[in-house]
């Protein structure tokens, strides 16, 4: 703390040039990076406000036409509201369940000692290495088998897809969570155990409470992952009413530079806004969630 104050004083005394050498240039860098990271987003926002999908003379925000938004919300061919609802249900349920089930397994790996523990951890990582996109054939095979017997959880159903998502996210999720649980001192639950706490009480009331912010971030990351899935959702769902936002918006891209491109832009803005806000407001915790506690943000 003291050094910072000292440097501040020095900067003041040295005048503008010194300020620029120490801090000011960072603002220049910052502005450049801001331009780089935002112009695609500003571009799509501007496109969504044009009538034709073409930005006049390539100058952003010349037009403020809101028709694309209202058209998309009303369009019977592109039921955006239904897509959004489907996506939110899928991503929400997957996020909650995957975090909970991962937490259960991570608790076992972190706090209990059993045969095959190390091998289990290793195979969790190993299985994750398999290129999931190529498991599509098998996943499709499983789902269509399920459809033959229990159509309620087979192809074209949210439950079926949620099961697939869960199976896919558990390995990585468990491993990350395992890292967090290890950062919680064992003395805590041992003390609780001596006080007569059951294992469920330790799990729910001590461990889960302590990592609650991390759980929230992991749920958010899982939510975003599911939200953005195109490939799996596109093979499982095949009617307009079942589509997710990722699959549905693709329909609008069949011919770009037309009215549809502007509608796509409007859809992209509406679909991404809540996620972006959530993400940016939780950014403080997110670093932690990304690194599995290896790095404290």
């Amino acid at each position: 703390m003291t050094t910072i104050i000292l440097k501040h004083d020095k900067a003041k005394r040295g005048g503008a040039l010194r300020w620029f050498m120490q801090v000011g240039w960072k603002h220049l860098v910052g502005l450049f990076v801001i331009a780089f990271s935002t112009f695609p987003l500003l571009y799509i926002l501007s496109t969504s406000l044009t009538e034709t999908g073409n930005i006049e003379n390539y100058v952003l925000f010349r037009q403020f036409y809101l028709g694309n938004y209202t058209d998309l919300l009303k369009s019977p061919d592109y039921p955006f509201v239904i897509w959004m609802k489907n996506t939110l249900i899928l991503a929400g349920v997957t996020a909650v369940l995957s975090v909970f089930i991962s937490a259960l397994a991570a608790f076992a790996f972190s706090r209990l000692r059993f045969k095959g523990r190390r091998a289990g951890l290793l195979s969790l990582i190993a299985v994750q290495m398999f290129p999931s996109i190529l498991g599509l054939v098998a996943v499709y095979g499983i789902l269509s088998k399920i459809t033959d017997y229990v159509p309620a959880i087979g192809l074209g159903t949210k439950t079926g897809l949620i099961l697939v998502y869960l199976g896919g996210s558990l390995g990585g999720g468990t491993y990350l969570m395992y890292g967090f649980f290890n950062t919680i001192p064992k003395e805590l639950d041992e003390a609780a155990k001596i006080d007569g706490a059951t294992h469920t009480q330790i799990f729910f009331k001590i461990i889960l409470r302590l990592v609650a912010p991390v759980l929230a971030v992991m749920a958010l990351l899982s939510f975003i992952g599911t939200f953005g899935d195109y490939v799996l959702a596109s093979i499982v769902f095949n009617t307009n009413e079942q589509y997710t936002v990722a699959v549905g918006l693709q329909l609008l891209l069949a011919d770009p530079w037309t009215k549809n491109w502007a509608m796509f832009a409007a859809g992209a803005v509406m679909a991404s806004t809540p996620i972006v806000i959530l993400f940016v407001s939780l950014q403080k915790y997110i670093t932690n969630g990304l690194t599995g506690g290896a790095v404290k943000g």
Partner: protein, 542 residues
């Protein structure tokens, strides 16, 4: 005795509460009811093997949760079950498939292939009558053809089910009414379908085969291509079940079911009867193909090099950018620091599939924002981002940098803040320059904590299907002579995806699975060895 008792307590986790027990029984009850329902369906469909399998799994799950102790299993069961079903099974299945010829051409088992060949190989019976038809629905709901024989002016009717609706002549005695030219206008017991009703017949009218006699395969059938005219057809092949030989009717050539390739094949000249085959095990031949097939070996070398380059360059560029930014902005003196940080991570917060589409628009050669505004000074020398190899690869890397640098920025910032202040303060008191502090203190510490994440990032980018597929689709496809298309930005995974789900050449799951097993091995061993090395790094640092 006392210690044993204590151990027991630790493992069983104390006495369960009443509420917990009730919740447990409630959830188990729901699960058991669900499985019971599924078992009933399976038994109803006579799938006893599957039913027994699920029954046993359920009993095991109940046993895990109802017995005392065995705590690890209680926590692991839900995750392990899901992982087994949707991950481990997927890996094993792909491994198995890689030793078969499973694909569009070999989709099902022998019986299915046989049926498909017979259904598709159809030819008109020469010299037989042609008909003008009306599609009708009889009172029992069956769709039938009422056919006017163009040669004899006789009228026939029949349906798909020969025993119920045999093909036979209709006369006034059946209630047939005809117009002046002998054309049917009404018949007892049937309604004529309107054009609209015809299009709604499921499955389509054009797939109907109305048998001419009790044996569809021998007697032939009536079929229509347009719901107006129909002719007598027969299957092009006859099949002998005992010898598993197909005989072509037109020239009596014999084709034998060959179990090594999964096709009907002529013993004389190796001619295949049809492109439709069945699934057989083919040993190592898919793996062999990867290394020897000219169509694959040609593009594969280039793709492999580009895949490694793409993965490495993506990790390197995003890490360098993220690290530089994190170092620059890890400075409390900067005003608006939080706003800067929030804006920097916007690309990461924006859903990635949308980003790919947005960039596709931005980089469009004619209408794109980049060529027209940012690179507007280049006038008409527009960069053809998606048409040239170099430009397309640069575009992919640029977009991946945009997508990935905020992640690196976040984790580098986190790691930087975790470095104790005392360390850097001590160094600066000792007179170390800021650059030296970065180089000798911050960077080594950062690398230790971030190495596993960088390896994971490499593995992720090695298989970064979305970044390539949604942006360029692997293109541009500059070599039109290739049998299996390979584009300039294709990485291994997109190339394999095309093999697996290709529409032009026909999907080859067997070959694609062999590839996935190899990719699995490549990524697995790279990760294994680099994790081992980073552990060494960590020990040295301590």
């Amino acid at each position: 005795m006392r210690t044993r008792n204590k151990n027991f307590e630790l493992h069983s986790g104390g006495t369960p509460s009443l509420r917990g027990t009730l919740a447990k029984i409630f959830i188990l009850g729901i699960v058991d009811a669900g499985v019971g329902f599924v078992l009933m369906i399976l038994i109803g469909k006579e799938k006893y093997g599957l039913a027994i399998f699920f029954g046993i799994v359920t009993i095991v799950v109940n046993w895990i949760y109802l017995r005392r102790g065995g705590l690890p299993a209680k926590y692991l069961a839900p995750g392990v079950l899901l992982l087994l079903a949707f991950q481990v099974y997927v890996v094993i299945f792909s491994g198995y498939i890689s030793f078969t010829n499973y694909g569009d051409a070999h989709n099902g088992n022998y019986a299915e292939a046989l049926d498909a060949i017979q259904q598709s190989a159809v030819e008109p019976i020469e010299g037989a009558s042609e008909y003008e038809i009306k599609v009708v629905r009889s009172d029992d709901g069956a769709v039938q053809f009422l056919a006017f024989d163009l040669a004899t002016n006789k009228i026939f009717m029949g349906g798909e089910n020969y025993s119920k609706h045999p093909w036979r002549e209709q006369t006034a005695a059946d209630g047939l009414v005809t117009d002046d030219s002998g054309y049917p206008t009404a018949l007892d017991g049937v309604t004529f379908l309107t054009d609209e009703e015809i299009t709604e017949v499921d499955p389509g009218v054009t797939t109907l085969k109305i048998p001419l006699g009790p044996d569809l395969k021998k007697d032939g059938f009536i079929a229509t291509a347009d719901a107006f005219f129909a002719q007598q057809n027969r299957f092009s092949f006859t099949y002998d079940e005992k010898t598993r030989v197909m005989t072509r009717v037109s020239d009596n050539k014999e084709f034998i079911a060959d179990e090594t390739v999964g096709y009907f094949k002529s013993a004389e000249d190796g001619e295949l009867l049809s492109g439709i085959g069945w699934q057989v095990r083919v040993g190592w031949s898919n793996y062999q193909k990867i290394f020897t097939d000219k169509n694959l070996r040609g593009p594969l070398g280039g793709i492999l090099i580009w895949t490694f380059f793409f993965a490495f360059a993506s990790v390197f560029s995003t890490f360098v950018a993220g690290l530089a930014l994190a170092l620059t902005f890890n400075d409390q003196r900067i005003r608006g620091l939080r706003i800067y940080r929030a804006i920097f991570i916007l690309p990461y917060a924006f859903p990635a599939f949308l980003s790919a589409y947005v960039w596709r628009g931005l980089l469009n050669t004619e209408n794109g924002f980049i060529n027209n505004t940012i690179l507007g000074f280049m006038g008409d020398n527009k960069i053809q981002w998606f048409e040239q190899q170099g430009a397309a690869r640069a575009a992919v890397l640029l977009v991946n940098l945009w997508l990935g640098f905020p992640y690196m920025f976040l984790i580098c910032t986190g790691a930087l803040q975790a470095i104790p202040n005392d360390l850097t303060e001590a160094a600066s008191i000792d007179g170390a320059s800021p650059w030296k502090i970065v180089k000798f203190i911050k960077l080594p510490l950062l690398l230790v904590s971030l190495a596993p994440l960088l390896i994971a990032s490499f593995a992720y980018n090695f298989n970064n299907f979305g970044a390539i597929y949604l942006l360029t689709g692997g293109g541009p496809f500059l070599d039109p002579t290739l049998k299996v298309e390979a584009g300039a930005t294709d990485i291994l995974i997109t190339f394999v995806y095309r093999i697996a789900f290709s529409r032009s050449v026909g999907a080859d799951y067997g070959l694609a699975s062999a590839f996935s097993v190899l990719i699995f091995l490549i990524i697995g061993s790279i990760s294994y060895f680099s994790f081992k090395r980073t552990r060494g790094l960590e020990e040295r640092a301590q």
